[in-house]
């Protein structure tokens, strides 16, 4: 029987997976605006995500609040330790909303701002996850690093991996939602960023072997290996589908790739949220850091049910706005 902390741990993986799968394509599409010279094309691309991006961001908030609720000490330690980085991320979310909604005046400026923050958000989230995988210089006395600790090589590799993956995903979405010249352009980006994603996926695996051997070893268990294999097959298949021009299936597969990768990452970290790079004995497990037993129990069932309900109405809304976007009109 799985204990409640473990159940929450994998529910947290689900929330992060949904965040990257849903918000991932609008972040990726935002980052791709760097490459789009024509203003009308940018308008069309932005219109493909306009009705849904706000709802997509909810998964991030829920993921964060889930960690606050179920591992309050972890949330508090991470946020206060990486104080300035946390606020950088918050400012990025603010600027993203503003540059998106108010882009009708000084369009070019807002679009570059939107592209910049859309690229930085997945990068930073990747860096945070990379730090959790590798571990941080911490012991019973506290944290012994600086802000620069965050940006060690391995976390940066993970950050770039997440960035390239969302750009691949975003390009897949754009191909799925557009037609004509812009679609052709996006198809090229999809393939290029697909290559970068696969290369960085391999780099992450090698990096784990070097910098986070204990996490790497756990991924070598039968379940871990099976997942890895599925992810690799899915990734390779997607490259083929992009080339073949199957826009629907290639988007669905990149969508599915995110929860799978996140699940594998969580699986490799289990059962320790925090490991130390300086003191091999120091570990903070998901049970040690967990909220009180009643908290874990009281809201698990309702959270799972609500997640299913949200998925249902979200799918319904996507269907409502289904089909190709060809108009370039802005909203506000």
């Amino acid at each position: 029987m799985m204990d409640y902390a473990t159940a929450w741990f994998y529910f947290s993986a689900f929330l992060l997976g949904m965040y990257l799968a849903f918000d991932g394509f609008d972040l990726g599409l935002g980052s791709l605006l760097f490459f789009i010279k024509d203003e009308r094309d940018r308008d069309i691309l932005v219109n493909t995500i306009a009705p849904v991006w706000d709802g997509n961001e909810v998964w991030f908030i829920t993921w964060g609040a889930g960690i606050f609720a179920m591992w309050p000490a972890l949330y508090a330690t991470l946020f206060s330790t990486f104080y300035l980085a946390v606020w950088l991320l918050a400012f990025l979310f603010i600027f993203r909303a503003v540059s998106f909604e108010f882009r009708n005046k000084y369009k070019k400026l807002w679009d570059y701002l939107f592209a910049t923050v859309s690229a930085l958000i997945p990068l930073i989230i990747g860096v945070i996850v990379g730090n959790l995988i590798q571990g941080i210089p911490i012991d019973a006395k506290g944290f012994h690093g600086s802000l620069l600790t965050l940006f060690r090589p391995f976390p940066l590799i993970v950050g770039l991996f997440v960035l390239f993956a969302v750009m691949w995903h975003g390009a897949n979405w754009a191909v799925y939602k557009t037609t004509g010249k812009i679609q052709e352009q996006m198809r090229k980006h999809a393939f290029n960023f697909w290559i970068l994603t696969v290369v960085f996926l391999l780099l992450v695996v090698v990096g784990m072997k070097i910098w986070a051997p204990s996490r790497f070893d756990r991924a070598l268990t039968p379940l871990g290996l099976t997942l890895t294999l599925i992810i690799l097959i899915a990734a390779l298949l997607d490259g083929y589908l992009i080339k073949k021009g199957d826009e629907k299936l290639s988007f669905y597969i990149s969508w599915l790739a995110f929860p799978l990768v996140v699940y594998l990452v969580y699986y490799s970290m289990y059962p320790n949220w925090v490991i130390s790079t300086t003191d091999p004995k120091f570990k903070l497990s998901i049970q040690t850091l967990a909220a009180s037993p009643l908290t874990l129990q009281a809201v698990l069932g309702i959270s799972v049910i609500l997640a299913v309900i949200i998925m249902s109405y979200t799918l319904y809304v996507y269907k409502m706005f289904g089909g190709k976007v060809t108009e370039a009109e802005g909203y506000y």
Partner: protein, 507 residues
């Protein structure tokens, strides 16, 4: 400067800024749903155009409500880490449930509303506006569950764990329905609806004065005034009255500061206005209604109302030292000693408890509280007056021609925000020094590992970013006013040139 004060300023700034957009979002969501409903019932073009127009207003407020709210969630972990560790088991779940219950609903359907109203059937827009209203009021519910629990904590036990002492839930539903929740929630949501109705009425009044979009404007003023008249009365009674009684029972220091009551009195008067002299501990030139405070607070004309010193004494001895919700004496001593040490008091000092009473007494700025409370109540009274006068004018059929009244509506539009912020300031400053009543103070809740320099950096960052945002935001509000609703047959739309249609966008 110290990180505690800077973190408090930062929290007040970010929360206050958030509260510019939130009441307007919730209130506008209600109004927009109401107007879409009117459009469905009457099937008249001006209601339909008004629904589309005010949906855009809702969108403009919603845009900044969301990211400024994310900031608040980050702040608990970043600036108030020890607080988060201590009560995260209880405070965190409502925040997470807000995301799942409410935030997902409102964010998804505001997209459907704004992007679907030109493309999808009207009934979809109507349903979406309903979901946005339900979502935003549920959102408020979960946030106020978290907030009210800090003010009147219930159903918890403080235990010692490997991570230090912390509060753990003993009963989820009892913690949710803590004593303050119902009155605080209804008072706050109703204030948001009042704000929304004021915006709709004032925007309508503006167009009537300019003689533009007259049919849409009339509908807006009429529905705005009706909702304003009802909500302004509800704001005073029963919601405001009910919340006051809970405060009187559970947070006596807050009540004493609100009322400028330094000395305990039986049959205490309600001071309408006066000048607070903190040094001599009195309210000068006070004009009051005898015995009213006792009656309002406790339902008894001769009830005893604690003055600030006695209230602080009650809080420390009864609510802190006699708090039964500790697992054992050891953990209680650890928490209580921690609070004393944070205020530079040696727990072994024989006068330690008396010194703590003084700390609690000094933590509440009476003059600030007294005036802020009067601003809130005074404006509330003004809203009732405006609402009822407007309703009277509407009933005798003079509302749309009473230019003086329409001018009053436009000019006083900022006042609902001023009233709401004054209310929040009395609510939050009044609980000082407690973050969680009787358990965590600002000094024991602040992050141990952040420097004043870091907090100052982010504080300056917030001031700059928020000012820029507000400037950009105002620009879009102005644009919305200039463009106005889509034309209804027979109306003058705008003075110089025909209005750009909603979908036309760019200027």
């Amino acid at each position: 400067m110290d990180p505690v004060l800077l973190s408090r300023i930062q929290f007040a700034l970010t929360a206050g800024y958030h509260w510019i957009f939130v009441p307007a979002s919730i209130g506008m969501a209600f109004m927009v749903f109401l107007i879409w409903t009117m459009a469905a019932i009457t099937n008249e073009d001006q209601w339909y155009k008004a629904a589309k127009f005010f949906s855009k207003w809702l969108g403009v407020f919603f845009v900044l409500g969301v990211p400024t709210g994310i900031v608040m969630e980050f702040e608990f972990g970043a600036n108030w880490a020890r607080y988060s560790t201590f009560v995260g088991s209880i405070f965190g779940p409502p925040l997470m449930l807000e995301g799942l219950f409410a935030f997902a609903l409102e964010s998804t359907f505001i997209g459907v509303l704004l992007f679907g109203m030109d493309r999808l059937p009207k009934v979809i827009s109507w349903i979406s506006s309903f979901f946005v209203f339900i979502g935003s009021s549920l959102s408020g519910l979960w946030i106020l569950i978290a907030n009210s629990w800090q003010q009147t904590p219930s159903a918890y036990i403080i235990k010692n764990t490997v991570l230090g002492p912390r509060a753990e839930l003993t009963n989820f539903m009892k913690a949710v329905f803590n004593p303050l929740l119902v009155s605080q929630y209804t008072h706050t949501i109703n204030s948001a609806i009042l704000t929304g109705s004021y915006i709709v009425a004032a925007v309508g009044a503006y167009y009537l004065l300019k003689k533009r979009h007259v049919q849409v404007a009339r509908s807006a003023v009429a529905i705005g005034i009706v909702v304003l008249a009802i909500s302004s009365v509800i704001q005073l009674y029963p919601t405001g009255h009910a919340e006051g009684r809970v405060i009187a029972k559970y947070q006596p220091t807050k009540l004493a500061a609100d009322e400028g009551l330094f000395k305990t009195e039986t049959g205490a008067p309600m001071i309408v206005f006066g000048i607070v002299d903190e040094k001599n501990q009195e309210v000068k030139a006070a004009i009051g209604i005898p015995k009213l405070l006792s009656w309002l607070s406790f339902g008894d004309w001769n009830a005893k109302v604690l003055g600030l010193h006695d209230a602080a004494k009650y809080v420390w001895y009864q609510q802190v030292l006699n708090n039964p919700n500790y697992a054992n004496e050891k953990v209680k001593k650890e928490v209580v000693d921690g609070i004393m040490k944070a205020y530079g008091i040696n727990p072994n000092d024989p006068n330690a408890n008396e010194k703590m009473v003084q700390v609690l007494e000094k933590a509440v700025p009476v003059a600030f509280m007294f005036y802020a409370y009067r601003v809130m109540v005074g404006l509330g009274t003004l809203f009732i007056l405006i609402g009822l006068v407007g309703l009277l004018l509407l009933l005798i059929g003079r509302l749309y021609d009473a230019r003086w009244f329409l001018k009053v509506l436009v000019v006083t539009l900022p006042l609902p925000w001023l009233a709401g912020l004054s209310g929040w300031f009395t609510h939050e400053v009044g609980r000082m020094p407690w973050m969680v009543w009787g358990m965590v103070t600002v000094k024991t809740g602040v992050s141990a590992n952040i420097s004043a320099a870091s907090v100052l950096t982010t504080l300056i960052g917030f001031v700059i970013v928020y000012l820029i945002l507000f400037y950009i935001w105002l620009h879009f509000v102005k644009k919305l006013v200039r463009e106005g609703p889509e034309p209804v047959e027979g109306d003058v739309t705008s003075a110089p040139a025909p209005a750009v249609s909603a979908a036309g966008g760019g200027q």
